[in-house]
């Protein structure tokens, strides 16, 4: 049988640096990622406030803004270019350093080894490197605020030729782009190292009795996400390298010939601007699924625990998430319907885009069908989980429209798209992060978060998010172009009151996040101690270990798993839940024999 004196993957650290800074422990690395994502979210949110104030209230002077930028905000009123720079950084920080980092790298690093029954990830040095490389990437990106003439202004998508022509393109297009590309290239390396660990943990480090189908849905979500990330980030990194070379080495990968900017012919020749879009979106579409699939796993996990019954079909959920992974690589051209590609390609991409709605819908219907008739325990975690479903549906439905090339011709680059992705990805994934935080805080920090503040945070965020992003769809259909810093055209001026309303909603929702931040920090030190190691009466392995888990996760005895992950309300059982590690010999009728 299992030798209890077998050495751990790595010994327990003793020095402060090894324990808290350059730690090999996946739990510490997970918390480090969470802290990074939290910092990035605050920065990204602050940028969105600056953007919204400018959009809603035009020439409003924001006190102190001139301190952030040498030339971007004379008299504290941002210039048009500065708006675009803030917008670019908002998108880049949020998509990469919040939505990819928190649900996947933070929670995944902390909980995947525990949920699989492993002592740690198999390559702890790579894991440590993955966090620190990501951290350096964040520092490089933020440094672009203070370098040269500011950060790049080309949007988080950095389309060529604007991104590749250098300083001729405007402030931040020289050094700013190089720093952006360097940051993102480093980020890709960090995530690839992380994906390596996640995949090998899931496949090779499961404890006795833990078959793949016995893994909780969160573990499946992280596993599938890391597979997506492997191919996606491995394509983005070469793209950023080619972009950097166009800047610093005089190459012409993306810059076409005979471009005249500011009366100067640029010294490039023959580049393919469309090539950047292909490379970027081949990464970019799987990226949005990387942002959302962990949230799907987290939400499923939390709802099951609070419903006290499993989902209608565990297998179909897993297969649907798997289908999303496969299909996500086939749809990227739907971001390029109006790029000038052969219109037949629009058909070729529109079809799988509609097909990908099938597994997404199946997942939503399984959630809704499972919730129907259940007595869901209402707490902050389950509320945010429900809101995830709401946001995913609301945001997803607008995707049906955008998937039709004919409609997309009108809606591309309008606020309709902005509303779509903010709801379906931004807000939904954020709510998934919040749900995960409220749910797992007792295990990660050994304290409960304040429920009252959690519910206040929830209702303010839920109402606020809808107030912000629902009007975006109206704006888009009315023709409001995105990435504009002011609305001076005749058809846009009547929409300004809508923007004012949205700005007020955004600031209100921002205040709600500060309540969450206070709750997080206060609970960390003064929160109620949970009554036991399993305050939510969950069944998966994280609830079978101490709070917080010891260095090698399970102490002396590695767990043995006897059950499927969600044995709730099983007839004949002594309690309404059977933990995976419980040898109690009662199986639900549909637990496979």
């Amino acid at each position: 049988m299992h030798d209890m004196s077998a050495p751990a993957v790595h010994g327990a650290p003793t020095s402060f640096i090894r324990k808290h800074v350059f730690s090999l422990d996946h739990k510490v690395i997970g918390k480090q990622y969470y802290a990074l994502a939290l910092l990035a979210a605050l920065v990204g949110m602050f940028l969105s406030w600056l953007m919204r104030i400018h959009l809603g209230f035009g020439s409003f002077a924001i006190p102190g803004l001139h301190l952030l930028s040498k030339n971007g905000a004379p008299g504290d009123v941002m210039t048009p270019e500065y708006y675009l720079q803030l917008m670019t950084m908002h998108g880049t920080i949020m998509v990469f350093f919040v939505l990819t980092t928190a649900p996947f790298a933070a929670f995944g690093n902390f909980f995947l080894p525990i949920q699989t029954g492993a002592e740690d990830m198999p390559f702890p040095h790579f894991n440590m490197m993955s966090f620190w490389v990501t951290f350096v990437a964040f520092v490089v990106l933020v440094a672009s605020f203070f370098a040269g003439d500011g950060p790049t202004l080309g949007g988080w998508t950095q389309y060529a030729p604007l991104s590749a022509i250098g300083s001729a393109g405007g402030p931040g297009e020289g050094l700013g782009v190089v720093l952006w590309a360097t940051s993102i290239g480093l980020f890709c390396i960090g995530q690839l190292l992380g994906a390596l660990n996640f995949i090998t943990t899931t496949l090779d480090m499961r404890c006795k009795g833990m078959s793949l189908m016995r893994l909780p849905l969160t573990a499946w979500a992280w596993f599938l996400t890391s597979i997506m990330g492997l191919a996606a980030f491995a394509v983005l990194m070469p793209a950023t390298i080619l972009l950097i070379l166009d800047h610093v080495a005089g190459t012409s990968f993306f810059v076409a010939s005979n471009l005249v900017i500011n009366d100067q012919v640029l010294p490039h020749s023959g580049g393919s601007t469309l090539l950047w879009q292909h490379l970027f979106w081949f990464f970019g579409h799987p990226e949005v699924y990387i942002a959302i699939v962990p949230g799907m796993g987290i939400v499923s996990h939390i709802l099951i625990t609070n419903m006290r019954k499993p989902m209608l079909s565990h297998r179909v959920l897993i297969h649907s998430m798997g289908s999303l992974v496969v299909l996500s690589y086939m749809v990227y051209g739907h971001h390029m319907f109006v790029s000038g590609m052969n219109p037949v390609s629009s058909l070729a991409f529109s079809f799988p885009t509609l097909v990908i709605t099938i597994p997404s819908t199946i997942i939503v219907l399984i959630w809704l069908g499972s919730l129907y008739g259940s007595k869901l325990r209402i707490n902050s975690a389950s509320l945010f989980a429900l809101a995830f479903i709401s946001m995913f549906i609301s945001g997803g439905v607008s995707g049906f429209f955008l998937a039709q090339p004919s409609i997309d011709i009108m809606l591309h680059a309008t606020y309709f798209v902005v509303g779509h992705f903010h709801l379906v990805m931004g807000v939904a994934a954020m709510f998934g992060i919040f749900a995960g935080t409220y749910f797992w805080f007792p295990k990660m920090a050994g304290r409960m978060m304040n429920e009252t503040l959690g519910k206040v945070h929830f209702w303010m965020s839920f109402v606020g998010a809808y107030c912000i992003f629902m009007p975006f769809h109206y704006l888009g259909i009315a023709g409001n172009v995105r990435r504009y810093q002011a609305f001076t055209d005749d058809y846009l001026i009547p929409l300004i009151p809508v923007h004012k309303f949205i700005t007020v909603a955004a600031l209100f929702t921002g205040v709600a996040q500060l309540i969450f931040l206070y709750n997080l920090i206060h609970s960390r030190f003064k929160g109620e101690i949970p009554p036991n190691d399993n305050p939510w009466e969950g069944t998966s392995l994280e609830w079978s270990t101490a709070t917080p888990p010891p260095h090698n996760n399970f102490g002396d005895k590695m767990p043995v798993v006897y059950h499927d992950p969600y044995q709730y309300s099983v007839e004949g059982a002594s309690t309404d839940y059977i933990m995976q590690t419980s040898p109690e010999n009662v199986h639900s009728p549909d637990e496979e024999k």
Binding site: A6, M205, K208, A231, G270, L274, V560
Partner: protein, 227 residues
């Protein structure tokens, strides 16, 4: 002539029943009703899975570079074809030879680690073929550097023409990955000399190195066809 017989390295076959995490070696699942689940008896060592994951990522990166080359070549009429520097073909032979020597090394070491006396071959220095592989690898990188310097001296730099840009990008990217492989080989030698080399580490490092050879053959074909 005196020969030094080294102690065989500590045998560290992966997944012995008494090993740490993973379910290797576990035999019986204990539900009282005897319902055995369809679970594996053991998992492959993580290094084995890990190297395939890493190779998949590297493949995707070079696939991205390849598609960039193909699209870019079709995008404009400014592609200037050129003849590849002949030293590349010599380097190809060097890297193929290094794969052969690495396989020799791997099999000798595996036999050695198993404690089996290999009568036909010298047991005194199981790392000998590893050192030769390392030398050939360094020779390959040196040869690639020579090719780059040769082109530069003829006036063909990174930005001279997009065909040269891709040549440099692909060969430099490959050489960087080969250098990583050299680091892996050094690590294997270091561990072997301290008798702490795991079979899975050796196998994973070899797999990576062979992949670098296959990748080079692919790149050479691509460059020869397209450039």
């Amino acid at each position: 002539m005196a020969t030094t017989v080294h102690e065989p390295p500590k045998i560290d076959l992966d997944r012995l029943p008494s090993q740490g995490s993973g379910n290797g070696g576990w035999r019986n699942l204990v539900p009282a009703d005897g319902g055995l689940r369809r679970v594996k008896d053991s998992s492959p060592p993580p290094a084995s899975t890990g190297i395939w994951v890493g190779l998949a990522a590297i493949t995707m990166s070079f696939a991205a570079f390849t598609s960039a080359l193909i699209v870019r070549q079709g995008a404009a009429a400014d592609w200037k074809h050129f003849t590849l520097p002949p030293v590349l073909y010599l380097n190809t032979l060097v890297i193929i030879a290094s794969s052969i020597t690495l396989e020799l090394a791997r099999r000798r070491i595996a036999t050695f680690m198993g404690g089996v006396k290999d009568k036909d071959h010298d047991q005194a220095n199981p790392a000998q073929w590893l050192y030769i592989t390392l030398f050939l690898g360094l020779l390959f990188v040196a040869g690639q550097t020579f090719a780059w310097m040769q082109l530069r001296s003829q006036g063909f730099g990174l930005a001279t023409n997009v065909s040269y840009s891709f040549f440099y990008v692909l060969t430099v990217a490959h050489a960087l990955h080969v250098s990583g492989g050299l680091g892996g080989l050094v690590r294997v030698i270091w561990k072997l000399n301290r008798s702490v080399l795991r079979r899975s580490t050796l196998d994973a490092t070899s797999r990576y190195w062979h992949f670098m050879g296959v990748l080079w053959l692919y790149l050479l074909l691509l460059l020869w066809m397209k450039l």
